[in-house]
């Protein structure tokens, strides 16, 4: 169990982390999701003990570890560039943590071999690490981190340097591996699909703060602020001009919104074209996005984006259509912190 209380960090004048509190239950995978420069990597470095001049408290399994030296924390941290030792082969890299603990050589060798097999690198033990592919390096780094059975494993964009198709497959492998080892993990990425594939909880970060933390599905369906909605690619944000008794007035008419708010978002997955009794709209644009179509419709001056996946559903551009939306797809947005 990892617990962060009011972590703040500054590099000179620049405030990188602004009072972050977060707890990660044992065995959970929490993903820190955000644009580059939002402080997600700095947060990992604070937890690992690599940044010393921070404010706040880091608790691990009930003990305050602010001043515990890096090497005594038994935490794993996988860097984006993996940080493999170029002068050691695969087996020596994997066994490094055991060697530091003073385990006898046969134990080192046997456990390293086991771990190498477990990440699927059988017969690679004698290889020079510079001859490995990106995916193989990533697995060596994982094996090296896992062998000491760390209290907490942190992964900093471990799939960042790989191509997109390999990334999704490896993200699922990685989740499987972490769960199998019952590891408490913190995973940093800027890629939302990677985050959704791997995490139990996703924390969206913005400028040194956590904007929202929720399980993947809840985050995807209920973004709490405009920033999170936009980050996930949901752009149907409408200003609320008046709200009373669960009804909000917007540019496209009244919408049922349970909570008083100044902005609402209509989830793109909640909008559909209907035959009748919908809202009048003009189809303005159709963009093919790989597996689905992204449609844009105009209602008065307002543009609404929505998805559809079946091809009969796509009318010609410029045609008048009728739109309807699920009421649970209308999300009231809070202001950003």
């Amino acid at each position: 169990m990892l617990e962060l209380k009011q972590i703040s960090l500054a590099f000179g004048q620049q405030q990188v982390l602004k009072g972050i509190s977060l707890s990660v239950a044992t065995g959970d995978i929490v993903c820190l999701l955000g644009e580059s420069g939002c402080g997600k990597t700095s947060l990992l470095r604070v937890i690992a003990g690599l940044e010393r001049d921070f404010m706040g408290e880091v608790w691990l399994d009930g003990a305050l570890i602010n001043t515990l030296p890096v090497e005594k924390r038994n935490m794993g941290l996988m860097f984006q560039d993996f940080g493999l030792f170029p002068h050691l082969n695969v087996e020596q890299n994997v066994a490094f943590g055991l060697k530091m603990r003073g385990e006898p050589l046969p134990v080192q060798k046997q456990q390293a071999q086991q771990m190498i097999n477990r990440v699927g690198l059988e017969s690679f033990e004698g290889r020079d690490v510079s001859t490995l592919s990106g995916g193989q390096k990533q697995r060596v780094a994982l094996a090296r981190s896992l062998i000491t059975k760390p209290n907490l494993l942190m992964l900093d964009e471990p799939l960042g340097s790989l191509d997109a198709t390999l990334r999704m497959r490896l993200a699922q492998d990685l989740r499987h591996n972490l769960k199998e080892n019952r590891l408490t993990s913190l995973y940093v990425t800027h890629d939302q699909s990677e985050a959704f594939a791997i995490a139990d909880w996703v924390a969206v970060m913005k400028e040194g703060r956590i904007e929202q933390i929720a399980p993947p599905l809840a985050l995807y369906r209920q973004p709490r602020t405009q920033y999170v909605a936009n980050f996930l690619g949901f752009n149907n944000v409408l200003a609320v001009s008046h709200w009373q008794g669960g009804i909000a007035e917007t540019a496209i008419g009244v919408l049922p919104v349970a909570k008083r708010c100044s902005e609402v978002c209509i989830h793109p997955d909640a909008i559909a074209i209907v035959e009748k009794e919908g809202v009048e709209a003009i189809l303005a644009e159709v963009v093919l996005m790989g597996e689905k179509y992204r449609l844009t419709a105009r209602i008065g001056e307002t543009l609404l984006h929505f998805n559809c996946s079946s091809w009969e559903d796509v009318p010609p551009i410029g045609e008048a259509i009728q739109l309807a939306w699920r009421t649970d797809g209308i999300i009231s947005l809070d202001d950003s912190l």
């Binding site: 890096v70 090497e71 002068h87």
Partner: protein, 538 residues
Amino acid sequence: MLPVLFMGLFFFYPLLAIFSLSFRPEGVWDFSGFLRIVTTPYYIETLFFTLWQALLSTALTLLLAIPSAYVFVRYQFPFRRLLLTLSSLPFVLPTVVVATALQALLGNNGVVNTLLKGFLSLENAPIQLERTLGFILIAHVFYNYAVALRMISGYWANQSLRLEEAAQLLGASGWRLWWEVRLPMLRPAIVASGVLVFIFTFTSFGIVLILGGVRFSTLEVQIYYQAVNVFDLPMAGALSLVQLGIMAVMMGVYTRLQRQNSVDLAPTRLILKPIRRWSERLAVLGVTSLMSTLLFAPLAVLVWASLTYAQDTPSLHYYGLLDENVRGSALFVSPLMAVANSLQFAAITTILALILGIIASLLIYRYPIADVVFMLPLATSAVTLGFGFILVLDTPPLQLRSSWVIIPIAHTLVALPFVIRSVLPALRAIPHHTLESARLLGASTWRVRREVMLPLIGRGIGVGAVFAFTVSMGEFGASLFVARPNTPTLPIAIFRLLGQPMRDNYGQALALSVILLLCCAAGFLLIERLRDVGAGEF
């Protein structure tokens, strides 16, 4: 802390002694030494000559290096890489070897003159270069040609050819292409290499002392004369300070220039053209023959002269003389003893410089500001260093004047920047995450150093070790001050033998020079093999 202590004791303390000697010779403030410098025409002339020869050497070097750089950057020709690599050989050659080699080639009794005399049946040598400014200039070009060539061609290789092609499309051609595009583009590299060559030639000591004779003296030689021959120590001190001041300014200019236009060391792919036209053929032929003549003629003649005796018949006579003390007054020991001395000193220097250099590199890695402190000996001339040594090491608490230890200590100071410059880049090239990973896996700071850093800088340490050894073998300026008469080093022995009238003494000097040349050439080859392409920060 060990290297800091060493620097304080053997670098800053002697420098401080020079300061106090020139400003407060009798314990009270006294600026008469400086007044004498600026009021005595002789010293003004010395200062003027020092500047003049440095400027001439720099101009001549650049004049040869710029066209050569062009040929090396643009054309593909046989032995291109080999020539470029070998061109750096002078960098490790001791001044006494170069001076001896040039004398063997161009001196009054040198090979060229002997051939011309026989050919034209003349009485006197037709080329009278000994003790002329020309001789000094040739030696300086020999030393610095490759420095300028490497810096300029390295910079050029990183410039896009597109710029020139664009200029050609806009109508520039011939000399206008040189004048309006190429030279302005190269200006940063030309200025930086010019400043560096100026620094090297301004502090030139061995070359001027041996080839210039008494007629020519630079500041550096004057410091030596004043301290050793005239024994006017306050004067020597004042001259040292003038020298230090000028050097400080030049080094400041150089570091500024380096910072402004640091060349990206990532090697860009060079597109080399094959030679087609006769003018291109002529240019390549001209440059390669200039280089090989400049580089190999003196060294080849040196080896040949050492292997011949009486009517120029091949003989090992001079080598046979090496364990004999031909004239008791020249050396107190046999020449072979000087070789043994130098090898011992070099071994001790290597160990000392490695220990201090590795610790200092770790220190600089952590606190980059410390770099300035350890690079200072590079900017301080060896003669000034030697002079400071005899000032302070003669009196308690450092009574080392009569101990042989003083030589490896002086050599270590000179070699330290080379070791640091070899180790530090290797240290800095280690990805930060590699070291942090080791700590996360449970390695303490010390174990990170032992298990990760040390193996990764092994190659750099190797290069540093060879540098330290070669520098120590060839060091001349400081050794001349601190070496005891009964423990001469190899370069000192050569210098003393050159000053003797007997032909056998000259022969011994030739043979010793060849031995020293072989040592340094072997070191050079080792360094080139150990060093990665593009590594090293100079």
